[in-house]
């Protein structure tokens, strides 16, 4: 289930949003301290506190997310565990084995092995990402010319073996899911901008 959350703008832009808290001078003499105690007791600051917590208890507006049962929605551009996508029509892997992701990876965690197959096309035989080392910077997804490697939303990476983090088959969209039309395009780093078809130009052959 794909969920997109609308995010509120939390940037404080107005200068007037900040103000200095008015701090009274500390009482020094005994009489001043006594007056402070009395005024605080009579003004009922203690009871304001009691009322606030009681109000919250009565409103019962619980903010706890019971995590394994409930999950917070994550942003559409969230950079969690990578996915390898397939071509919609043919079901082939999108990856052309260009090696750009392997080259750009700053934590050096992507390894790939390619060969030239019978049709003289490049085929990816091995593709692994060491998620124990990956810093999820998103460069691989950004640099990929084929939108083949993208980030997904799967952020639960508990496993018994570190080797479980590097399996290509776990990242690649299974064929049955692809046929069911459940391969999600990633709107984050490296994705096609809306309306990008219009900005495509013919390769200028003049130079």
């Amino acid at each position: 289930m794909h969920h997109e959350e609308t995010f509120t703008d939390r940037n404080v832009s107005e200068q007037s949003a900040y103000f200095y808290v008015d701090i009274e001078a500390y009482p020094t003499t005994g009489w001043d301290k006594f007056k402070q105690v009395v005024s605080r007791a009579v003004k009922g600051e203690l009871f304001v506190g009691l009322w606030v917590v009681m109000r919250e208890m009565i409103k019962f507006d619980i903010h706890t997310v019971q995590y394994p049962k409930e999950k917070l929605p994550i942003g559409p551009r969230y950079r969690a565990v990578h996915k390898l996508l397939r071509l919609w029509e043919s079901g082939y892997e999108r990856c052309i084995g260009c090696g750009l992701c392997e080259k750009i990876c700053i934590s050096d965690c992507i390894r790939m092995d390619t060969r030239i197959d019978e049709n003289s096309r490049k085929e990816v035989t091995e593709y692994s990402i060491n998620l124990g080392r990956c810093i999820f910077c998103g460069y691989c997804a950004e640099v990929c010319p084929e939108l083949a490697i993208v980030h997904g939303g799967r952020y639960e990476n508990a496993s018994e073996q570190r080797a479980h983090f590097v399996i290509k088959d776990d990242m690649l969209t299974p064929l049955d899911l692809l046929k069911a039309g459940e391969q999600n395009e990633y709107p984050g780093f490296g994705a096609i901008i809306p309306g990008s078809d219009a900005s495509v130009k013919k390769t200028p052959l003049a130079y």
Binding site: F34, L50, V53, M57
Partner: protein
């Protein structure tokens, strides 16, 4: 002394011990839940329905934990200190009438272990001995936080015991008896006869002192987590630490009973309605202990002593004097 009396007394002791040990456990559950709700959390949820069995889980954990006696502690005192806290808390319950007397199959039961003529004095005295638990435990622990906590408990102890005594003096002058049953019977006849109306100042003072007595939040400086870790409890683990806990929560219940009986009419005329009222009053005071913990900040030890000696004690003395003058004329 006939055999029936001895059997009845032992039965009462066992019942009170069982009920209030269980209540102390449930008290921790209620505290967690109430604090959680006031802070928009859910509290324990996973063990049993609504987390109710969390108490059992904690109990099993505490009972089965290894009994660790750290190096360099004064062993006999370290071992006995939690027992002092728990034992004195329950000993104090001996003179508290928990329920009006009732008749079961022609046999009249007095739900008080011993209706001694110095009742309230005994209760306060034994509760005061309970302070030796934190004091000795802290001093024996070979830990600086515990030592600070022990010093604080001694200082706090001296400060608030004065208020407790002086605040109670005025109501006792009016009643003319130290027995909690007599104090209760003095207020029979409806809300108008409650001592809280004639002694509101003493009521407030005693209530404040009760917070210091039980070490609850505004005066939680004996075991203040954010300053001195767990104070006297830092070096304790397992059941010894659990005994401190049971003592603290049992104390909260018993002091709630004392406030309700001395100032708010107790169980009134002794009917079922009066008994249920007493439970409700005690529940309110117990809830108030949790409520303040969610709402109020802690004071420093010097602030507590300043408050006790320079503000509350003069007010308490004035209250006693004014009560005496009013009673004389």
């Amino acid at each position: 002394m006939d055999v029936a009396f001895i059997i009845e007394t032992i039965a009462k002791i066992v019942v009170i011990l069982l009920i209030f040990s269980a209540l102390a456990g449930l008290g921790t559950y209620f505290e967690r839940k109430v604090l959680a709700f006031m802070q928009r959390r859910l509290g324990p949820m996973h063990v049993g329905p609504f987390g109710l069995l969390q108490v059992a889980a904690d109990g099993i954990k505490l009972f089965t934990k290894e009994d660790i006696i750290p190096q360099n502690v004064v062993k006999p005192i370290f071992k006995i200190a939690p027992v002092i806290t728990a034992a004195t808390a329950f000993m104090a319950a001996a003179a508290i009438p928990f329920w009006p007397q009732f008749t079961v199959m022609g046999y009249t039961v007095h739900p008080i272990v011993a209706d001694i003529n110095v009742g309230i004095l005994y209760v306060l005295g034994v509760m005061a001995i309970g302070l030796y638990g934190p004091l000795l435990g802290g001093m024996a622990s070979a830990n600086k936080w515990s030592l600070i906590s022990a010093a604080r408990s001694a200082a706090v102890f001296i400060s608030y015991e004065v208020i407790t005594g002086l605040a109670l003096l005025a109501p006792l002058m009016m009643v003319g008896s130290l027995s909690l049953v007599d104090i209760n019977n003095y207020q029979v006849g409806g809300i108008g006869n409650w001592i809280v109306w004639s002694q509101p100042v003493a009521f407030i003072l005693f209530w404040i002192a009760a917070f210091a007595e039980t070490g609850r939040t505004p005066f939680h400086l004996v075991a203040n987590d954010h300053e001195i870790i767990d104070g006297f409890g830092t070096e304790y683990s397992g059941m010894r630490w659990g005994l401190f806990f049971i003592g603290e929560y049992a104390n909260m219940f018993f002091i709630s009973f004392v406030i309700a009986i001395v100032f708010l009419g107790g169980f009134g005329d002794g009917t079922i309605a009066g008994a249920i009222q007493l439970i409700l009053k005690v529940a309110f005071f117990f809830f108030f202990f949790l409520w303040t913990r969610a709402a109020w900040p802690d004071v420093r030890p010097d602030q507590l002593m300043w408050l006790c000696w320079k503000v509350l004690m003069p007010i308490a003395v004035l209250n006693v004097v004014v009560t005496g003058i009013v009673m004389m004329f």
